[in-house]
């Protein structure tokens, strides 16, 4: 088992009269994960989506870090799972998200334009019955 230290810092001198300075850390015990940089081909849901997490790839719990590497804020990437009807997140160029995902659902990404670059990582406990690269 390995430990990933996930830290988030939120700071602002002006958003409140009292300066905001929040720092949180979570030590995630996981046995698998890596960073991946890929192009997103699809520009509409369920057509050429980039699969970032296959259903039951991990057991119990899993976390996804994803960053939209576009420099244009309005070139979004959209994250959704394949069983529900809405969007999990809409991420602008240069923005990132760090979210838990439901291990038994498939998560996919499409973008505003073809071949947008994203960087993402899935961290969790690998389920050997459903290795990454499955469908």
């Amino acid at each position: 088992m390995a430990t990933i230290k996930a830290n988030l810092s939120l700071t602002s001198a002006a958003v409140l009269t009292s300066p905001l300075s929040l720092s949180v850390n979570a030590d995630l015990l996981v046995d698998s994960g890596s960073l991946i940089r890929q192009k997103v081909k699809g520009v509409a849901a369920d057509t050429n989506d980039l699969c970032i997490y296959i259903a039951n790839q991990c057991s119990e719990r899993a976390y996804v870090y994803i960053k939209n590497l576009e420099t244009e804020l309005e070139n979004y990437i959209y994250i959704h799972n394949d069983t529900d009807t809405g969007l999990v997140a809409k991420i602008g160029g240069g923005e990132f998200a760090f979210i838990p995902v439901s291990p038994d659902k498939k998560y996919e990404v499409y973008g505003t334009r073809v071949d947008q670059m994203v960087e993402y990582g899935v961290f969790g406990n690998d389920n050997s019955a459903n290795p990454y690269g499955g469908s």
Binding site: A2, T3, I4, K5, A6, N7, L8, S9, L10, T11, S12, A13, A14, V15, L16, L20, L22, V24, A26, D27, L28, V30, S32, G33, S34, L35, R61, A62, Y63, Y65, K67, L73, E74, H80, N81, D84, T85, G86, L87, V88, A89, K90, I91, G92, G94, E95, F96, A97, F98, I99, P100, V101, S102, K105, G121, F123
Partner: protein, 133 residues
């Protein structure tokens, strides 16, 4: 205009033979512009005492935009989690001590962020919303 920055660092010395050391910083801006977010709920906490689903943020109460959301499950009991649903889509389960940070569009009254605690005993969620309006 306020400038708020979010920095994430992910590091691990033992996940693979190549040590993981990632750091990424983003300035929190309104949708499609470089204008900083100037409104916030501040950092607050909500304590639940039932396994009912709660509306944490009402999609109808905020404009269509690029709001930013921070959530943390403050529980220290490893098995306790909060299931997060956003835009009628299950995001995932936030276990004890874990946090999440993500943008939220809130483009319709159905686009609530909802939480469902796993336990009916006291469970506290820490949150902050940075509002695009």
């Amino acid at each position: 205009m306020a400038t708020t920055t979010a920095t994430i660092t992910l590091s691990s010395a033992d996940l693979t033979g190549d040590a993981l050391s990632l750091s990424s910083t983003a300035t929190l801006t309104k949708a499609g512009t470089l204008t900083g977010l100037s409104q916030t709920t501040g950092v607050g906490r909500k304590t639940t005492t039932a396994t009912s689903q709660y509306i944490l943020f009402d999609g109808d109460a905020y404009a269509n935009g690029s709001h930013k959301v921070y959530l943390k499950n403050t529980s220290t009991v490893a098995t306790e989690f909060l299931t997060i649903e956003i835009n009628s889509e299950q995001m995932g389960k936030l276990y004890a001590g874990d946090w999440a940070f993500f943008p939220w569009e809130a483009n319709a009254d159905t686009n609530d962020i909802k939480i469902t605690p796993s336990v009916s005993t006291s469970l506290t969620l820490e949150y902050a919303l940075f509002i695009d309006e």
